[in-house]
Each structure stands twice: as C-alpha cells, then as structure tokens.
C-alpha cells in the first residue's frame, strides 16, 4: 500500500491521460452542453472507455473484470476531471456494478455484471432526496406486501438516470432495515424527468409511485446499510479524484495565465500579491493529493477498520473539496474579466466542481464525520 501510484495505477494513468486529452477535451463537454442532449454524455466515447477495460477495474475476472481494486479508479477519475469528461462510469460502474457484485446472488451477478461492463446495460442508484447528503438517510419508503414490495419516493436526485435501463433503489423497510432493489426504468410508477443542473450533465428527478417489485428483484439481504456506506465511500473517493483533476487543471490554467497576461508593462505573475496566493494554492493542491491517495489506499487496505476507512475517505473529500473551492475562486479572480466569460473553459470547471463538492457530502458533512469518528476512536483507546 502506498501514497504513490503502483504499476497498475501508473498504466491506467498513462492511458487515461493520452486517451481522454485526445478524444474528449473540454471542447467536447462544450459541444454536449450546446447540443442539449438529455443523455449528457457521448455514447461512443462511453463504449471506448469500456473497451479500455475501465468498467471492470474493480470487478472479478470471471465477469470480464480486471481485479485491480478501487485504487485503479484514482488516475482514471483524475483525468476525467482534468478534461471535464461526462460519462456514467461513476453511477453505472463504481456504484451499481460494485453493489451488484457485493450483494447480488450468483444469478444476478452473471446476468447483470457482464452487461454493465460491456455497456449493454446502464444503471443508476436512486437513494437521495434530501438537499444535503447523509449516508444514513433514506428517502424511499418500502412496503412489504404478500405479492412482493411497493416502493414510494418523491423527487429523488439521481445522476445519470435519463435514458437509463434500470435503477438500483435503496430504501427503508418499516422494520428500519435497508433493502436494495433493481427496478427496470419502464416499470409502471417510475417517473424520470431531466433535471438541468449547472454542470449540464445527465441529472434526473426520479419519483416512484406505488412501484411494485418482486422478491426476485431484491438484491442482497443482511446489513445492506453497511454495504451502501462502503459504496458511498468508493463513490466519494472517485468524485474526490475527479475534483482533484479539475482543481489541478484550474490551477495549471491560472499559473499559465499569470505567466502570459501583461498589465502595467509586465506579466502579472511578477506581482508578489499574486505570487503568494499562487504559492498557497500549490501547498493546498499538494496536501489535497496526499489526502486523496490516502482515501483510495484505505478503500483497499484490509488492515484498515471501517472507521479508519470512513475517516480517511472523509479527509480526502474534505481536503480536495476545500482546495477545489479555494482554487476555483482564485482561478476566476486571477483571470479577471475573461474569467467570467463563457468563452473561457474555466466556467465548466467551476460549475462541475460545485456539483461534485455537493455529491456524496460537502466539506461540512465530511468534517463532522471525521470528528465524530476521531472522538469515537479516542474513546476506544481509553
């Protein structure tokens, strides 16, 4: 285990860097936004990403996976963030495929996983209705009937749900237990409508009205909540990696601008007032990267307790989120007038970063979680 890339991560880093910069630079995201497709991503690009094997990074070889472990997603999501690439990798693979792999029956795994890895099927996770994320909060009500189960929920925020084949729905039974179901998108009572967010990606409002599902569509039994929290932690780390890439890109753009923009007869990067702010940004970027690497390390480290994993993932999202916040504000300010125009790509980074900061818990949420666990762990020592 390490805070620098291992061989597999290095290979993924090299291939993702080249492929995404070449095939899907920010101009592609601009095109998708201007064309206003509800799918919000390029289906051909998605297929190519899957041909690179990225769908199977953390899945068993038996279903066509690579078995690299979740650490493999760190470099991939970093380059996704650097190039502002829209894709359902987070939702269909990191969240849904992993949940099916962890919780599904042998039959469910065989039926679903290969299709997800090959892109023949696409899933999204419907769980969150509240304004601010909480891992222990469930907004889907489940009623247990003799024929099966009935799902009800209003106004869930589900990334990548437009044109999806099916939803994984997590909710609470009257007993308080958490249950997970796979629901076809065309099941009666499922309503999916586009939600236009400032990142111009595929987001949807999902409502479930008396949606009938059978026991065969239930995925897993036992402590589903713990597995969901693990899935959220994996997604949180991937979102943090995407934010890290976006932040690094904004930082690089800004340093480049400081070296080329002239005012008062000199490059503005020679002004100490800007130099010191730039140097502080570098310090935060380096600290954020260390926290991010530790978060990914904790996901795969078997000697790490659940609490330690949660703490390190929270540290990663918090530090990268805080740094993204600082760097995006400074990037716009240091670019001056051009920084607030749509012509400059910076706006795409700023807007997507805002969405990513909220996804799976903002800085305050993760700060609170880190503190609670720290206090709990310190009480255990005493």
């Amino acid at each position: 285990m390490s805070l620098v890339y291992n061989e597999e991560q290095q290979q993924l880093d090299d291939s993702a860097r080249e492929f995404l910069a070449d095939r899907s630079p920010v101009s592609e995201q601009r095109r998708l936004r201007d064309e206003q497709q509800a799918e919000g991503f390029d289906a051909k690009l998605w297929q190519q990403m899957l041909e690179y094997g990225w769908g199977g990074i953390a899945l068993p070889e038996a279903y066509g996976g690579l078995e690299f472990g979740f650490q493999g997603f760190a470099p991939v999501f970093e380059h996704i963030g650097r190039n502002m690439v829209a894709s359902p990798l987070l939702t269909s693979i990191v969240l849904c495929a992993s949940l099916v792999n962890d919780l599904g029956s042998e039959q469910q795994r065989e039926e679903i996983l290969t299709e997800l890895i090959e892109g023949k099927r696409r899933l999204a996770l419907a769980v969150q209705g509240q304004d601010r994320f909480r891992a222990d909060n469930f907004d889907v009500q489940i009623t247990d009937t003799k024929q099966g189960f009935v799902l009800d929920a209003q106004d869930l925020w589900v990334p990548d749900a437009n044109h999806v084949d099916g939803l994984l729905v997590a909710g609470q039974l009257p007993s308080g237990d958490v249950a997970l179901f796979i629901v076809d998108a065309d099941t009666p009572g499922v309503a999916i409508e586009p939600l236009h967010l400032l990142d111009a990606r595929n987001h949807a409002r999902v409502s479930l009205t008396q949606v009938q599902v059978s026991a065969a569509e239930r995925i897993g039994t036992g402590d589903i909540q713990a597995q969901l929290e693990l899935a959220f932690d994996r997604a949180t780390a991937c979102v943090a990696a995407e934010l890290m890439g976006a932040t690094a890109a904004m930082f690089d753009m800004t340093i480049e601008y400081l070296k080329t923009r002239t005012q008062f007869g000199t490059t503005i990067g020679s002004f100490q007032a800007l130099q010191h702010r730039a140097a502080w940004m570098l310090a935060d970027v380096e600290l954020a990267r260390s926290a991010l690497m530790a978060g990914f390390e904790a996901l795969e480290n078997e000697s790490c307790s659940v609490e330690q994993r949660q703490q390190l993932v929270s540290l990663a999202k918090w530090k990268v989120g805080e740094t993204a916040h600082k760097v995006s504000r400074e990037a716009v300010q240091m670019h001056g007038g051009i920084g607030v125009t749509d012509e400059l790509d910076l706006g795409f980074y700023l807007k997507r970063s805002r969405v990513a900061q909220i996804l799976f818990g903002d800085s305050d949420y993760h700060c609170e979680r880190y503190g609670k666990i720290a206090q709990q762990l310190s009480a255990e020592i005493e």
Binding site: V4, G265, E286, L287, W318, Y370
Partner: protein, 396 residues
C-alpha cells in the same frame, strides 16, 4: 554476502555492543550532548557513547580519515545511518560545525584550514555557532553590514549579529561579513571563522515573548581576526552562504528526526477540554478544531507521500518546498484554536494554579510565532515556491 552486507553486519554488531541502552530512543532537548570545549555529560553512558563514536571517527563518518573522519563511502555511511536508526541510537553529540560548516570547508577550504579546523570538529572539541542575520539583515540577508576591514595580515571586525543560536555557549563562529563595502551587495560578502574568546566579542542572550531562549546577539568591537581565517575567496562568501543554507535545511530535518518535539495532540486536548460540545459556539469551535486537525493530517500524509515518492525517484521539489511554510503556519493555527478550547486554562504564565502541560502549551503557542519567522520567514518561503517551483517571473 557481498561487501556492503558484510559491512552492515559488522556495524550492527558494533552498535549493539557499544551503544548503551539509555542512549537509544528519542531524546528531550536537555538530554542532548553538545560537543565543545566545555562539554557537559550528565550521565556516564553519554560519555561512553560519545567517546566510542568519536574514536571510530563516526561523528562524521564520510569525511576523509586525514581530517578526522571515518573514511566511509557514501554507501557505507547510509548503512551506518540506517542501522543507527533501526536501533534508535541517539546521535552521540550535536554540532553545527559538523552538519553545516564541515561540508563547506571540505569543498571550499584551503588544505591548511582543513587540517587545522576539521580534526577538532570531528572529535567534538569545538562547539560552533552561526553568524548570519543582523538587526537590519533578516530576510534580506545579503544586505548585512558587519564590516571586516583589512589591516595588514588581519581583518578588524565591527558590527553585530543577531539570532545566533547558543552564541553564549559556543567556542567558534562562522560568520558572513562585508569585505567589499563598494561592491554590489551580494559581491562584497566573505565567510570568516573566529574564536568567540577573541577580545572585543560580547554575547547577550535574547528573551523572547515565550521566555528564555537559545538566541543571542553578538557584538564585535574592533575584533582582530587573522586573514588566514577567511574561507574561500575574498568577497566570494555569498556562494558559500547558499551552500551553508542548503546544509541548514538538511540539518534541520535531521534535528527534527532525533528530537522529541514538544508535541501536543490537537485531538487529545480538544476531547479533554471539550468532550461534549453543547452550545452553538462550542459546536462551532469543535468543528473549527477538527478542520485544523484534518489539515494537519493532510500535511502528515504529505510527508509520507514525499518519502515514498522520493524512494520511487519521482520529482518531489514541490512537496519539499512547501514543508516549512505549511508546517509552521499550521502550528500557529493549531495552538490558537487550542487556546480557544482551553479558555482560561491556557492563559497561565507560571505557578501552581496551572498544570505543567497547560503552561507548556501556552509557551509552545508563543514559540510557534518564532518558528514561522526563523530559518526563512513564511513570506520568503512563498517567494521561493512561486519562483523556483511555479516558475513565476521576478518583479521588475
């Protein structure tokens, strides 16, 4: 077994047999042995360990034998350092001369100077201090004004040096002086060495906001120093100063590895004084403290990543450059918030109304200000980062 493994084996056996048990593990500030004319051993083990390592030449293992060193190859030196670390052997003595001036003398000193100055240094007989900063030359070190006027075979020194650590306990000083008053400021500086017992040298300790300190101010009043004690070229001292400061960074990091810092765990103190935050302001304070701990945690992880990246031979210049800035600024923030958490318990100066721990924490808070100024202020660090790492242009 190849040669180096055989050497490792011999070294380990020797260390196991010769390093007393009480000379292993981290040490407190007052357990350090400083070499010098008036060396003070507090225990018999300290003396034994000092003499055994001295007789091996292992105070400076990689220096040539003819200058009192151990004559080891760089590879062997690494083996010795590694084995000492594994057994948690304390350094047998601490000596700025060996860490800082020695390497510069080896590179730039004349043959005579090397033969005269290095062997006593290598035996830990002379304690050295550094005369760089002046009251009007801090961050702008090159503007230093302490004058060395030529007078026959001697220099006559007049002026003052400040922030000289342990100036009052040192035997010799290496100092930057102005020998070229009409030259451009970087081109009129020379490096000299002088005996602190020379007539005209007076030393005054400096009290800080945190109380007593090791810092001194040194005054030179017509101090006569033979020209043979000029190191390197006349007016060529600035290049040597840069080399010395490079060694200072290495020495500082060595120093922090061996000494037990007055370390206060932010979380322990927080949970002790604010175990169950109830009011809005308590909760806000709690959260503020947690976020500072998270930043500190991210810094600790950065130190780990720096080591791992260096081992993997990756470019670590950015991570190196931010170390001092981030650490010293975080320390200030950390102690500020702990003062808030402890309330009136953090305001003690002395007396039995406060625990030693409380008094020490308050003192460390005051000391944190010094850390962000000494050894290159945070602003100097920011200048260095923006120019050397980010490549931003110099101001016109």
């Amino acid at each position: 077994m190849n040669d180096i493994e055989e050497f490792r084996h011999t070294v380990r056996e020797w260390l196991e047999a010769n390093c007393p048990t009480s000379m292993r593990g981290l040490m407190l500030a007052d357990e350090m042995v400083w070499g010098g004319r008036e060396i003070d051993f507090k225990t018999e083990d300290q003396r034994l360990w000092f003499e055994r390592m001295r007789d091996k030449g292992w105070f400076c293992p990689d220096w040539p034998v003819e200058y009192g060193g151990g004559g080891l190859t760089p590879e062997q030196t690494t083996v010795l350092e590694t084995e000492m670390r594994k057994l948690r052997c304390r350094p047998p003595q601490i000596n700025l001369g060996i860490w800082m001036l020695g390497p510069v003398l080896l590179e730039f000193g004349s043959e005579e100077q090397k033969r005269e100055l290095l062997p006593p240094m290598a035996r830990g007989e002379i304690r050295w201090c550094q005369g760089f900063s002046e009251p009007n030359a801090g961050s702008d070190l090159a503007s230093l004004q302490t004058a060395a006027r030529e007078d026959g075979d001697d220099f006559i020194i007049n002026g003052t040096k400040i922030w000289t650590s342990y100036g009052d306990q040192s035997d010799w000083m290496y100092a930057l002086v102005r020998t070229g008053p009409k030259e451009p400021k970087h081109a009129g500086i020379s490096l000299i060495v002088l005996d602190m017992k020379s007539p005209g040298v007076t030393v005054t300790p400096i009290d800080l906001i945190s109380g007593k300190s090791s810092f001194c101010q040194v005054f030179f009043d017509d101090v006569r120093v033979p020209k043979s004690q000029l190191i390197g070229e006349m007016n060529g001292g600035w290049a040597l100063a840069k080399a010395l400061l490079g060694h200072e960074r290495r020495a500082m990091s060595k120093f922090s590895q061996i000494s037990l810092p007055t370390h206060f765990s932010l979380l322990e103190t927080l949970f002790e004084y604010l175990p169950e935050p109830q009011t809005q302001s308590d909760i806000a304070l709690f959260q503020r403290a947690i976020s500072l701990r998270m930043d500190e945690h991210a810094f600790e992880l950065t130190q780990r990543r720096l080591n791992e990246a260096a081992r993997a031979r990756q470019d670590v210049s950015a991570m190196m450059a931010i170390q001092k800035l981030v650490h010293t600024e975080q320390e200030k923030d950390k102690f500020e918030v702990l003062l808030d958490v402890m309330g009136r318990r953090a305001l003690g100066w002395e007396g039995s109304a406060f625990t030693d721990q409380q008094l020490a924490l308050t003192n460390t808070w005051l000391n944190a200000f010094t850390q962000a100024i000494a050894g290159g202020t945070s602003e100097v660090q920011l200048n260095v980062i923006s120019k050397r790492v980010l490549g931003l242009p110099e101001a016109k």
